[in-house]
Amino acid sequence: MISARLVSAVTFLYLACAVLYFVFLAFRSDRLGKLATGAAWVTLIVQTAAILLRWVESYQMGIGHAPLSNMYESLVFFSWCIALLYLLWERKLKSRVIGAFALPFAFAFNAYASLAPGISARIDPLIPALQSNWLHAHVITCFLSYAAFALSCAVSIIYLVKLREERKGEKGEDVTGLFPALDSLDELIYRTIAVGFPLLTIGIVTGAAWANYAWGAYWSWDPKETWSLITWFVYAIFLHARVTRDWRGRRTAILSIVGFVAVIFTYFGVNYLLSGLHSYA
């Protein structure tokens, strides 16, 4: 399949982009920054083409469906969402410094899809439970929210690194001097979560609507449902702590990382460690 080969190529392209963003951080050259941005957009376009091609290929096989139906497809789509959201944010904020931390996420999930031995790139027909239009709404909103949370996790890591350096008193001496001020990073963590949280809510609601059609209950405390709710609780705690109890900085950055750990567990842990109705991605 050509699409699978394209996805493998995208892995290396994202790796190259991540390296470029790091080099940009080290040398602080505007030209390097533009190169990194350009490379990231090109990679995103190639990845988009790979996803669309896989869609076409599934129709050529006579089992046409959107490429959102198994672990492999969801990983590639997750990686795509992260890159897309990051690039949109980069345009909006006119700052490239988060790229060095965001692109590795896009790289990691795409690499996991194309390199992990347990994950098959084969296009499988849709089993009856997945034959629903809710599939698209549910998967797209969930992964967009996961991507926003991935970015907020990336910014939180930057925040904690910078905070440590500043406490050591080496302000401005190394790359952390290039990062935005702690306050802006803190604001950015909040704003990424303010996007991710409503999307996660829509993801859960569309999932519930779908479950109501497929399984006859909008909520059955299936492990995946429960973990999505746990994730929702963590980010609800984040928002309440920040907005009403005025938590800022280190504590909210740690909460945002905890939230992303919950996202990852919802995504992978439930599939690999727990059993339930959501055995597919």
Partner: protein, 464 residues
Amino acid sequence: MSTEKEKGFLPSLWAALSSLRLTIPLLIVLAVASIFGTLIPQNGTPEEYLRIYKVSTYKILRILGFLDMYHAGWFIFLLALLSLNLIVCSLKRWPSVRRFFSQPEIKPDEGQWKATAPGRRFSLSLSPKDSLARIQGGLLHAFARPRVLQDQGAWYLFAEKGKLSRLGFYSIHLSILIILLGAMIGSFFGFRGYVNIVEGETADRIFLRSGQQVQPLGFKVKLEQFSVSFYPTGAPREFKSTVTILEGERKILTEPILVNHPLTYKGISLYQSSYGVASVEKVVLEVVERASRRGFTLSAQPGVRVEIPGSPNSLVLNRFIPDLQGMGPALQGTLLEGERPVENLVILQSHPEFVPQRPGRFEFRIRELQPKYYSGLQVNRDPGVWVVWAGCFLMMAGFYMTFFMSHRRIWVRMMEKKGETQVEIAGSSHRNRADFERELDRVGRSLSEPSLRGEKENTKGDPA
């Protein structure tokens, strides 16, 4: 004596419930409890639990309600406490929010004017009275329709946008209560059950999931036919039950039920959930004795031993397999010689080409095989589901109001100074202040322009 004691029990309970200090620990406890709920299998049988846990652990988990945790008293209590906390917090906050609606601040605090940026203070060579119409029109054009107040020789104009976002908080929190209410309606007035119907048979009652009680449906469901199809890979493609709904003897409708395509009749929904083979009444096999090429047919019934004529052998069909690893229906059987099993057989219905490859005294092919399926239907009634969807919709609206709208207010003060009118602009936004500053600059520029857009050409020459 401490003031806490003077306040008494009820007021301090109110204080505790209305505190956000309670919300965060509650959410943490709910999250941690839910983690346990996903690690401990829920609603299993005692045998299943005893396979994983020691007897003592099992007993403790059962007493603590961890085996049906999400319906345990303490979990429901936590949800109730969260709801109460939410209600009390909302009530406490209401007066300060209501003020934005009932008495908008047309004249802001003095402090607002002190921070006025240079671009937002200018003079017009008109009297305040003449300037008023112009500023009013300008605000309407550039922002929103203003209200006017005259106070101590000064004119105040006030315009606002996105006031609704102040209610986002209420929408989200109210929506959670509505969703929980919908869930309660469902659990009190609805039911969840299942029924297995064999092809050609009719059911008028179902078994409830809770406590094995029987629930009459009020109508009858007849399974006309069940069918299952597979992809070439062996993965299932479609499970389909064609059912007829009957009222008494009258046929109301006949419709298919598929996964993701339930059938709802009189508020009761039927979902495709499982299937199986109820019976295989009769099988006709074509048998060929390899040595003699002698061929004949053999009628068999699963579980019943049949002699193979002209030989010391007999055959028992043990099991019917609806789909053997993607190769379609199969029969599994044993060939006996006297009382001694000599061969285990698998006979595929749709792949007779495999028969010659298999060694053995006889070749078996299936000529006729009619399994009778049963279909497992999930049967629910949930009158609360629309309440839940309404709650979800309100929650989305609340998120939009909270995260994507902001309450922006602009004040303009006009005072006479040396025959001219001094105009000052101030504003406030409770979110996205940086964006609002830009908006305020734009409004300021628009109001201080020599000629406002939208005014007629002939006013341009005026000595304004």
